[in-house]
């Protein structure tokens, strides 16, 4: 089976303007959402308490709310269904630091009489820990971006590095916009999803860039648009196939993986779609935008090649004892 059976080169660069507009619009929309509604930080980052309770039969949410609100600390607690009508999650922003008796114990006591239930999960994160986790998360993002920037600069050129990071920012921004839009609680798992996305988005971009690098080196073409169009077309099947297989598994993870990894799955689903799109329509046009010069790169590469050959010659001579 083949998606594209003919060796055809599609004119992606010629039609890049409308896609650029779409991308800019989506990014602006994402930042608008992030600025107005904002990320909904879960307890991992903001601190607080989560109690997951499973009832025998449907959970009496109204009754639970009445009984819990007797205690003023829980006035702002939210009670929401979690995956099935039997199961609910009670969330609130406060936490206590007593080891023997925490807020979840209080909740359990207050819930007595609402039916037969089982406390299945309690998460308590103190405000200090939440702050530290947030700091660590941001650090992780920055450091991985920086490390990858250096790696690509060494393996390609700084313009490739900057272009791929811009595409990355594009992907992460839109994924975060989706997180806000779909009201996903931002916890550690979402951070992991975003970091996975970071790797995935770069992965996709690099496959295309690798082809561009190869074309610049090996072909007689000098026009950047031609080279980019050719490279994207050549890698198109791969881009779509890999995205598809990854999409399959993330889709099953999202659909069947259980409520706890629902947000994780959703973030990745959006991310994979956006990442695939950006590696075709965003990353490569960025090279043009950054004024990537084919001729200079050719010269640089051939110089590199020459140096390598010289070195090998020297070594061969040395090993034969000529020098």
């Amino acid at each position: 089976m083949q998606i594209f059976s003919k060796d055809k080169t599609y004119d992606f660069m010629g039609k890049s303007l409308p896609f650029m507009i779409i991308s800019v619009f989506m990014i602006l929309a994402s930042y608008f959402l992030l600025g107005t509604k904002g990320l909904n930080y879960g307890i991992d980052f903001s601190g607080g308490t989560i109690v997951q309770v499973k009832y025998e039969g449907p959970a009496p949410i109204e009754k639970m709310r009445d009984q819990i609100s007797v205690d003023k600390i829980f006035a702002n607690a939210s009670i929401t269904e979690f995956g099935s009508p039997d199961e609910v999650v009670i969330r609130f922003m406060s936490s206590t630091d007593s080891v023997q008796e925490d807020l979840s114990d209080k909740i359990t006591n207050l819930l007595q009489g609402t039916g037969t239930f089982e406390v299945r999960r309690v998460d308590i994160v103190g405000p200090k820990v939440g702050g530290e986790l947030k700091e660590q998360g941001i650090m992780a993002m920055l450091i991985s971006v920086f490390t990858i920037l250096i790696y690509i600069t060494i393996r390609f050129e700084w313009k490739f590095a900057v272009a791929s990071i811009l595409a990355l920012i594009h992907d992460i921004s839109i994924a975060m916009g989706a997180i806000v839009l779909f009201n996903v609680d931002v916890n550690l798992d979402i951070l992991a999803a975003l970091l996975t996305l970071l790797g995935y988005s770069l992965n996709d971009t690099i496959i295309v860039f690798d082809r561009i690098r190869e074309e610049v080196k090996n072909s007689k073409k000098f026009d950047l648009f031609d080279i980019i169009n050719f490279s994207i077309s050549k890698t198109l099947t791969r881009t779509l196939l890999t995205s598809l297989t990854t999409f399959f598994v993330v889709l099953t993870l999202w659909a069947f993986g259980g409520e706890i990894i629902h947000g994780f799955g959703l973030t990745l689903l959006v991310g994979i779609l956006v990442g695939t799109y950006s590696s075709i329509f965003v990353a490569s046009p960025m090279l043009k935008f950054l004024k990537f010069n084919v001729e200079d790169y050719k010269k640089k590469e051939s110089l590199k090649e020459k140096r390598k050959i010289d070195k090998e010659k020297m070594r061969a001579q040395y090993e034969q004892g000529v020098v």
Binding site: M1, Q2, S5, K54, S95, T96, D97, S98, V99, Q100, D105, E118, V119, R120, V122, D123, I124, G126, V129, L133, Q136, M139, A140, I143, S144, T147, I148, Y151, I152, R155, L188, D189, A192, L195, T196, L198, G199, L202, N203, I206, I207, D210, R211, E214, T237, R238, T242, T245, T246, F247, F248, V249, L251, T252, L253, F256, G257, G258, I260, F264
Partner: protein
């Protein structure tokens, strides 16, 4: 025509599969012996806690024990002092007889790390900064040791207690199955188990209910509740006679009424202090205080030698046993506080395993079918690599004793999606060469060459992201990063080396059949 048959790539791939299957077998078969992957708390249920230590309290309690030493020394040497008081992080006292100044000063000099502020005969004793820091550090280490001891004796499976970062303590209890167990474990962890012998202030014992804490403190007194009936109060001298640090053993026993009690014994120093004190104070009340609650305050009838005593307070059998454990493993110098807690019931863990297994299986099957439909036998080859990859990931995790968490499961699922990437890249390159009219042998060889740089660069960037994730992530995130990294590394071996070996092995047959549709899922006849 190429040679085909066995080649080094295939041999390495085969060894890798043997390794993968061999070392993941204990995990699959749950054998007694062999390294297995253990399930994380989120999958098997259990309690995870991150605790902080209130180190300021450690300094206060150190000051208290210094005050006790001063009291014992002055009593022992008939030095008369007045107003011995504990003020936050300072001990104050007034010496009555100036002739004894030298003796007292010498005694105080023997205690390391003290700062002495003297105004004629008024003493202010506190700790210097170095000693304060050392006390704090000691309190954290001691808390880790103590909590570990207690949990070891509590009888739960595989408790893990470790110091984390500067001042935090990590506690993991996978064995917790019920809410009651959890409650008991938490109480055991947090119990200060601070045993003190104190004197009742006979002069003011009738003022227990009308004196404020501040007023009591003026007299160097402290008002504490009774353990059995909290509304009952006792007025005690603030400076204890001795504390639990001199305890050598504590056991559950029974009194005449057949009620559980705790029998404790003191070391020789404690026994001497206890004996001397009771000898000098026959007729007064002695209070046995545990965690600031008075358990009993009997009248001293005679000198009590031998250094043993009893705590009775209407304990249940379980309580008595937990208190005895806590006393044996020592008091917490400073109380602990809860920073983070994650508690997962075993039923939820089982649900999570099931759900992620379903996702893994479904995703896996989808990918496998897709690869065969799209690539024909080349898809089968890629699938063999994929399955081998999965076994190797599990084997390496088992060897490292890694813990499989829910995010770790997600990491494996993702690896499945991404592991076929290398084969997609290679197969596309091979097809491209076919379209250009390459021979089968040349298309396969060159296909691998051409694909290599893209695969390497792509995998290395993902690996870099995973490493950073590991370095900066906490707990569950680390698990995710670990499975991702192992998956990427294993896929290099299986998807690149392994599949290449398989093609080499079958090359004569492929060349003979010339059936590109069967072998590579592409129309046309090969050369």
């Amino acid at each position: 025509m190429s040679k085909g048959g066995l080649n080094y790539r295939l041999v390495i791939f085969f060894l890798a599969i043997v390794f993968g299957v061999g070392f993941s077998a204990p995990t699959f078969l749950q054998t007694e012996k062999g390294a297995k992957i253990s399930l994380g708390l989120d999958l098997q249920g259990g309690l995870y806690m991150l605790l902080g230590v209130k180190t300021d309290e450690a300094i206060k309690s150190k000051m208290k024990s210094i005050a006790s030493s001063i009291k014992f020394f002055t009593d022992d040497n008939d030095i008369i002092i007045d107003d011995l008081k504990i003020r936050e992080e300072m001990v104050t006292l007034t010496l009555v007889d100036p002739d004894e100044e030298k003796t007292l000063d010498e005694m105080l000099k023997k205690i390391p790390g003290l700062v002495l502020d003297k105004n004629t005969l008024q003493y202010k004793v506190s700790l210097n900064e170095l000693e304060q820091e050392a006390t704090k550090q000691y309190a954290i280490n001691q808390a880790v040791e103590t909590i570990r001891n207690r949990l070891d004796q509590f009888g739960l499976a595989e408790p893990n207690v470790a110091r984390q970062g500067e001042d935090k303590i990590l506690v993991e209890l996978p064995g917790i199955k019920t809410g009651e167990d959890e409650q008991r474990a938490r109480e055991l962890i947090a119990k200060a188990a601070h045993l003190q012998m104190m004197t009742v202030d006979e002069k003011r014992s009738d003022r227990a209910y009308d004196m404020s804490d501040d007023e009591a403190s003026q007299y160097g007194d402290i008002i504490l509740e009774d353990a059995r009936s909290p509304q009952m109060k006792h007025v005690l001298k603030e400076v204890p006679i001795l504390d639990g640090s001199m305890l050598t053993d504590a056991k559950v026993g029974f009194d005449q009424m057949n009620q559980p009690v705790i029998n404790f014994s003191l070391n020789s120093e404690g026994a001497k202090i206890f004996g001397d004190f009771t000898g000098k104070n026959v007729g007064t009340h002695l209070a046995i205080v545990l965690d600031n609650k008075v358990y009993s305050a009997p009248v001293i009838r005679e000198r009590i030698g031998g250094g043993s005593g009893q705590i009775s307070g209407g304990f249940s059998m379980e309580e008595a046993s937990d208190v005895a454990i806590a006393l044996r493993s020592g008091a917490l110098l400073a109380p602990v506080k809860l920073l983070e807690k994650r508690s997962v019931g075993p039923s939820l863990g089982a649900d999570s395993i099931q759900a992620s297994m379903v996702a893994l299986a479904l995703g896996f099957i989808l990918v496998i079918i897709f690869m065969v439909v799209y690539y024909g036998l080349a898809g089968v080859v890629a699938n063999i690599a994929l399955i081998a990859n999965l076994f190797i990931v599990l084997a390496i995790m088992a060897l490292f004793g890694a813990t499989l968490t829910l995010p770790g499961m997600a990491g494996i699922v993702l690896t499945v999606g991404m592991a076929v990437d290398a084969n997609v890249i290679i197969n596309e390159r091979i097809r491209e060469l076919f379209r250009q009219g390459s021979s089968i042998q040349k298309a396969v060889e060159k296909g691998y060459d051409n694909a290599m740089s893209a695969i390497l660069d792509a995998n290395i960037t993902t690996l870099l992201a995973a490493v950073v994730l590991y370095a900066y992530g906490t707990g569950p995130i680390k698990g995710f990063a670990v499975t991702m990294s192992i998956g990427i590394l294993a896929s290099m071996l299986t998807a690149i080396l392994g599949t290449h070996g398989i093609y080499q092995y079958f090359m004569p047959r492929i060349e003979k059949s010339k059936n590109l549709s069967l072998w590579f899922g592409i129309k046309g006849e090969g050369k």
